[in-house]
């Protein structure tokens, strides 16, 4: 076990996969969070005709197959595609784009669902305090911070676990765009199952530790309410 871990840690291929995985996951979670929180709060705040349809579409998009997103992004950024000149294909940037498209609807949907309950009361309070619009949004975010954190953890989880889109858009190029999950996928296709599982567990352990660190940084105790 420890032997195996040592060999893994010293394998430059795996090290690079770890780096790629977390770079990609952190970037795409960050971008999706900003977009998702913004869109989710906007959706909650404004009433407009067709809102229900938008909400339903959002929910549907939460289940968009990553491989489809991968295909769409591929067709956009390939050499002959509309964004071809940007040379995003087979780069981490391209992977982040695909991931962002997958995760944003998830974060947006979850934020909307939380905000529907919490935000009206917060907004009303902000008005009575004389808060500006921006301050009111800020307060909403602050009051919903635990939920937002949870949404981000969910998005991050989705992001590190993805294969379909990342494989296609990133190309799974060894040492460059190969992630932990695509490595596992490759091992799988070679019939090397147990090492695949072991790598998967390693990935989860790292995600767990990362989350622990984030939890620590928040340093927040949960306190009881007086009902």
């Amino acid at each position: 076990m420890i032997e195996w871990l040592k060999s893994v840690i010293s394998d430059p291929g795996i090290l690079s996969a770890i780096e790629v995985t977390f770079t990609m996951a952190v970037c795409s979670t960050a971008i999706s969070s900003v977009l998702g929180i913004m869109l989710g709060l906007l959706l909650e705040k404004f009433q407009f005709p067709g809102k229900r349809i938008i909400v339903r579409m959002n929910r549907t998009l939460m289940g968009v197959p990553p491989v489809v997103v991968g295909l769409v992004v591929y067709l956009l950024i390939m050499r002959r595609g509309p964004l071809g000149p940007l040379s995003l294909l087979f780069t981490i940037k391209g992977m982040v784009i695909a991931q962002t498209l997958i995760i944003t609807p998830i974060i947006c949907g979850m934020i909307y669902s939380y905000a529907r309950k919490a935000a009206p009361g917060i907004r009303v309070f902000a008005v009575t305090m004389g808060a500006s619009r921006a301050q009111s949004v800020l307060l909403t975010i602050r009051e919903m911070r635990r939920e937002i954190y949870f949404c981000m953890v969910t998005g991050f989880g989705r992001s590190i676990s993805e294969v379909g889109a990342v494989m296609l858009v990133g190309g799974n190029i060894k040492g460059r765009t190969r992630t932990m999950t695509t490595t596992i996928s490759l091992l799988k296709s070679q019939g090397i199952f147990t090492e695949g599982v072991a790598l998967g567990i390693l990935l989860l352990v790292m995600a767990f530790i990362l989350q622990w660190v984030c939890d620590m940084l928040q340093k927040e105790e949960e306190q009881d309410e007086n009902y």
Partner: protein
Amino acid sequence: MRITDLEKTIGKFCLKVDDLYIEPGKIHGIVGPNGCGKTVFLKTAAGILKPDKGSIDYEGLTSREITMMFQRPYLMDTSVYQNLIYPLTIRKIKPDEAEVDRMLEKVGLLGQKKQYAKSLSSGERQKLSFLRALIFHPKLIMVDETLSNLDPESEELFEEMILEVQKKEPVTWLIVNHQLDHINQICYQIHHMEKGRFLKS
């Protein structure tokens, strides 16, 4: 503050105010049976609910100078102290710590300064909400039964505090309360409501 021809319908309830003049710098009481629309009226006057019709003339007051205290105050997910200074924070005013402590002391919340605000008892919540509204010196303060869960001493204390504020620099108060005898003592004028309308007084 003058309210003319105001109309607001929520569900089956309809609020109608033909013409109401709230004299500035005075304490106004609003009384009326449960469900007559006092809260809806205050919320509309505070700009929280958009009226369907009609207009409110604040006579130069900006929304930053108007506040409202709810029957069940909203407390932020943080400490008593943070809740108290929130209006100052958003106005980028550095709180005067001594003054803050004095205020908390007065209402008996100093020992709970660091306590999680949502764990306060209902009376304590109302006290906090009251201080939080006073701290940024608004010009129009609406109080929606915020004083009804207080014990008699606290109630008296708050009445004193209201009068104190009036002595220094008069602000406009709109106070909803069910106990006429209390409100009678401090109010300049009392408005009666029934079924969404103000009765001629």
